[in-house]
């Protein structure tokens, strides 16, 4: 049956409407999970609040395992799903820059908008910085265009690269995620004991 748009079950003109609906749902869940507070987000780095890790890992393993069952039941053809192309080094560098910005500013791009939505000033400044950064990157793009396109592997999955079936990765990721949930709970408790002034 799925994916719905490539299979023509939903017309192509609907993709922006669906994007808006998913965007609203995503923003609502981010805010509901407490991601509009930069303290919660930065807590991962300082070890007193791992809600980000738990929320994103939960979303990841539920979606991952769910997609595999959908494929098995024939509701979704995984071979027709768009896979983001992989550029190894640029992605690592990008990840480091993103992480640095995350811990410095206390937001990631998506959560900064939920912060604005509930009227946080730091989120507003973060977003202004975000657009300045995009503008600067666009202007300077010719300088690192070569690096930007380097190390292209194409639209590969871990299964394509290693030959190990996707279900083994799903199981391994799930175990790692669940271990992280329980492990971070212990860390949280210890760190919070030594903290005096903190409101969640």
């Amino acid at each position: 049956m799925g994916p719905l748009i490539p299979n023509g079950i939903i017309g192509e003109g609907w993709d922006f409407v669906i994007a808006i609906l998913i965007g609203i749902a995503f923003g609502f869940i981010l805010e509901a999970a407490g991601f509009s507070s930069s303290r919660n987000l930065a807590g991962v780095f300082y070890g007193y609040n791992f809600v980000v890790l738990r929320v994103f890992f939960t979303a990841l393993i539920v979606a991952m395992v769910g997609l595999m069952y959908f494929d098995y039941f024939g509701w979704l053809d995984l071979s027709k799903i768009f896979i983001l192309p992989t550029y190894v080094t640029p992605m690592i560098v990008g990840g480091v820059i993103m992480g640095l910005g995350f811990i410095l500013g206390g937001y990631c791009p998506g959560t900064s908008f939920t912060g604005i939505a509930i009227g946080k000033l730091d989120a507003l400044f973060f977003t202004i910085g975000l657009y300045v950064g995009i503008f600067g990157f666009s202007l300077a793009f010719p300088l690192f265009e070569g690096f930007y396109d380097s190390g292209a592997l194409g639209n590969v999955t871990l299964t394509d690269v290693t030959g190990i079936p996707a279900s083994y990765f799903a199981l391994a990721f799930t175990i790692v995620a669940l271990a992280a949930f329980w492990g971070t709970m212990v860390i949280e408790k210890r760190v919070r004991k030594n903290m005096k002034q903190y409101k969640f």
Binding site: V62, Y69, Y72, L171, L178, W182
Partner: protein, 203 residues
């Protein structure tokens, strides 16, 4: 500890472990139904017994004959250089590896064209090209190549040409003796190599 967390953790582990037992990609890739229908209505997939005989005699290396009858029938009689893939064995024993080889023409053979046509549809559906069906199957092969019928005397010249070829093919395939018609005189053209004065190498 929250009990819900423990329950959800166990549930997630069971679900993730379950994916290991799912048989993924059990269905082979197939072409779109519309495309298959378009191909089915084309008569271009048929090749005549004469064309097949000609290719066998010439030793055409691109020809691959696939007999789709059962093993017993194949053992009783088969065309030279043909291989046996019964329809029910198409997806087993790596038989699909025979199809889609660049530069080869696969011709399906059965007693008539029905089974060969079925096989053709299956293979086409799996997305392989360059596959053909021998029109009339082995029944037609027997009538035209093994036991060709002499055309009537007022038949067009083309029929006689075909008949001559079939008689030759009959000899090739059965080893039957040639019955040379009395009146026919065959001019044998002897091609001589033209003499050349150009010195071809030497010390």
């Amino acid at each position: 500890m929250n009990r819900n967390y423990i329950f959800l953790t166990i549930l997630m582990i069971i679900l993730a472990a379950g994916t290991v037992f799912l048989t993924m990609d059990s269905e082979p890739k197939q072409i779109e139904p519309e495309e298959l229908l378009q191909e089915i209505i084309q008569p271009t997939r048929y090749v005549s017994t004469d064309q097949v005989a000609k290719m066998i005699i010439q030793g055409d290396p691109s020809l691959m004959l696939v007999d789709v009858r059962s093993e017993e029938e194949f053992a009783k009689y088969s065309l030279p250089r043909s291989i046996n893939i019964p329809i029910k064995n198409l997806l087993s024993d790596g038989n699909l590896g025979y199809f889609g080889v660049p530069g080869t023409k696969v011709v399906f053979i059965s007693d008539d064209d029905i089974k060969a046509d079925q096989m053709w549809v299956f293979v086409k559906r799996l997305g392989f090209g360059s596959t053909y069906v021998m029109k009339g199957g082995l029944n037609c092969w027997m009538q035209t190549i093994i036991d060709p019928e002499r055309p009537s005397d007022d038949a067009p010249y083309k029929d006689f040409e075909t008949y001559t070829f079939r008689k030759g093919a009959q000899m090739y395939f059965t080893g039957a003796g040639a019955d040379v018609p009395d009146a026919s005189k065959i001019d044998v053209l002897v091609r001589r190599r033209e003499k050349t004065n150009i010195a071809s190498g030497g010390c």
